[in-house]
Symmetry: C2
Subunit: 237 residues, 2 copies
DNA sequence: GAGTGGTCTAGACCACATG
DNA sequence: ATGTGGTCTAGACCACTCG
């Protein structure tokens, strides 16, 4: 399962992060890379496309692929959504507390569902504690017709690992919506927030590769600790 | 300047939004589309890649390209950053008020610059009023060595239009950082917010195609009106 | 003019889904 | 067995940059 353009992508990421290719310099040309990796130019270009998407390089026509990475004006990291995903990259002494685990249905108003829909689901509420501070409340609704049962041990560990490694479900795509809302009384208590605090609500819907609806999520983040960074290219469409 | 894969992309977007291809159904196969548009399959695939990126379709191996768009569980719109970009898509009775326009240097602490750097820039502060409500304060610092002068008329209209159409500058790429912070006294007054309000700060850096640093921006959004939606595919890298 | 990235092609083989 | 998308190739022509 080793796709060539992914191998090239990973190798280039490694060489950039290890500064074998330094920021401010140009990568070898596409033809040179093709020769280097024994690949066609289009395949190299696929790898470079991934580097572009993730903010590692910027391409300049007629000149080459400029390494960005550690540019002095660049913001720290690209494409991460809050601490939940930060945890997996850095060591942050993260703890997870399972607060609730029960059978219910997906709350209709929260996710803009039609009034008459009843979607049976396992409700999991978890508190994410980073460096001793309660930072995030994850509220997950996992549809029962896809995942019949979820144990406390699985909730404590990782839902995604359970889905992918044990159940062999393949995550496909999803959408997320970020808004800032006043904290509810319950959220204030759990996150130990002062009165009139705001939280960042990240609502998400996740589908499997085969388009099956899997999961609804609302993550409640302490607003003062929330950060989202995005790298964008000018879209010419 | 009509790139084939863009033409195909635009045509497919049109047909999806006009429901000639309805959500829940599959697009014609890649081979059929190639024949339809008189293009090679790889070119069609480039167009489909754009549709994928923008959340219009989901591809399933062995089956086809599933149209999403108006799926009943999908969130409304993908890839937009708040009202600033919403305005350009919908008619929203938007007004812009130029509050300040002056020569300064880019504030060092705000954008994590090194202490000894002095970047001369034109500072523009603008208030965005949507449907009579003051929603966003845009603070732009446009580097003087790239754009020597900006008139009030230009600030009132659109900086980007001026950069691209009049000065023929090509926007390349940028990064954005979203955080939630307490409103300053000045922001509270301008946005007419109650005490102890929070705002969403979107800090951005914009580069030109040739990698020249163009602009620093901090947009201050009313937190209760801010929304950001993202479509994500499972990344297999 | 030589080198670069941007686009496009016509073919090939594979893994997967479906009947 | 057929059709689908996923990957890869070897070549072509273009627009751009730079000496």
């Amino acid at each position: 399962m080793a796709k060539k353009h992914e191998m090239i992508y990973r190798d280039l990421v490694r060489k950039i992060t290890h500064q074998l290719y330094q920021s401010g310099t140009f990568l070898p040309s596409e033809n040179e890379l093709a020769a280097l990796y024994g690949a066609s130019r289009e395949t190299v270009r696929k790898a470079l496309g991934s580097l572009l998407e993730n903010g590692f390089i910027h391409k300049i026509k007629g000149k080459g692929s400029l390494v960005l990475g550690l540019d002095k004006y660049a913001f720290p990291i690209s494409g991460l959504t809050s601490y939940r995903e930060l945890d997996s990259l850095f060591d942050m002494h993260t703890d997870t507390q399972v607060l609730q685990l029960a059978q219910t249905t997906v709350p209709q108003t929260l996710f803009h569902l039609e009034a008459d829909e009843e979607l049976p689901a396992t409700y999991i509420q978890r508190l994410r504690i980073v460096n001793g501070e309660p930072l995030v409340i994850d509220n997950d609704y996992v549809l029962t017709n896809v995942v019949p049962h979820i144990s406390k041990g699985v909730a404590q560990d990782s839902l995604y690992r359970y889905f992918e490694e044990t159940l062999n479900l393949e995550i496909g795509y999803g959408s997320k919506e970020f808004t800032v809302v006043p904290a509810t009384e319950g959220q204030r208590q759990i996150l130990k927030l002062p009165p009139n605090s705001s939280v960042v609500s990240v609502k998400g819907i996740t589908h499997l590769q085969d388009n099956t609806l899997l999961q609804f999520t609302e993550s409640i983040h302490r607003a003062d600790k929330f950060k989202f960074i995005e790298h964008a290219r000018r879209k010419m469409l």
